[in-house]
Symmetry: C2
Subunit: 188 residues, 2 copies
Amino acid sequence: MATEPANTEDKILDLAEHLIRKNGFNGFSFRDLASGIGVKSSSIHYHFPTKAELGRRVAERYTDRFLDQLGPLEEASADADAVLEKIRHAFELALTRDGQMCLCGVLGAESSGLPEPVALATRRFFERVSGWLIDALKRTDWGNQQTDRAIEETATRTLALLEGGLLLARARGMAGVFDAIRPERLAG
Amino acid sequence: MATEPANTEDKILDLAEHLIRKNGFNGFSFRDLASGIGVKSSSIHYHFPTKAELGRRVAERYTDRFLDQLGPLEEASADADAVLEKIRHAFELALTRDGQMCLCGVLGAESSGLPEPVALATRRFFERVSGWLIDALKRTDWGNQQTDRAIEETATRTLALLEGGLLLARARGMAGVFDAIRPERLAG
DNA sequence: GTCTATAATTTGATAGAC
DNA sequence: GTCTATCAAATTATAGAC
């Protein structure tokens, strides 16, 4: 079984991520973190001087974890539909394991009201995940027969579908909504 | 040309909608509204006693306007792809006309941290738009050959794609991102 | 690394004059 | 219907003791 996070810094990051995904970046305070962890808010500031810095760190950690889950490009399947299923699974985990939306989906929605470092880290999530998907698709049998532009548009459509699927699942009560979210079939 | 909103109440609703779509529900204050309109914050409270009530009204007005734009079911096309193009166009307008995300997409993202009346109005948006799309698809030639379940899943996928498309367009800087967002083709 | 204490500002909301 | 004045609470953040 998973053990408790060892140190305060990890506890803060964990709880901050949970609260942002639940309520948005403007929907939690340093005192929420403090009381949830059992320390004082000044201790949070010791680890993360500003809220913007904390938000940036949360977003970067989330992005790294997300890409870890996708695995290295070299190990991606040569079957385009398997690639789509892999990334679909990564998004579905946000719902089944955490019962929440994608962190960067939440941040993206409020992005024009975010501190610059947080908005930037959010953009980086989409750049990196989109980059992974495009490169993985290019390496498939299907991708070999497509223009770069067609591949990029398929990647955009796929990410939009998956982020939107999480959004709908949350906004509507999240029953089996995500089950209908299946990317288009590419090979066949 | 469009004239200025006549009364204070409309001005408040307009600015509140703009600010929510820009920064989220927790990203604006009564004083932001007041200074933007040129009155005092107590005047905002005169028209909308609580922030929750204001949010609910903004969401309901947005939903009504959105459905108006889709038009009555009776006038919807018998061609399924034309129906999808119609709803795609409604979402694209949010981007091209307002340069912003869908109001209820923003609210949906932070929905678990919203006052109940606002969360409820947000759910209602998705129920009503989803209901329109399902009913419109059922009336098409394509829909006549499909199970209810297949139609409902197509509606869910379409809405997810469009909401996610707006999310990506915003998170990434909104260049031509939405151009790649085209619903699946149903009839041929 | 955590605490107490506190500063400086902002927030949603109300009372009462005009 | 808008104003002035104000409140109580919450917010991000800092200084300094332990």
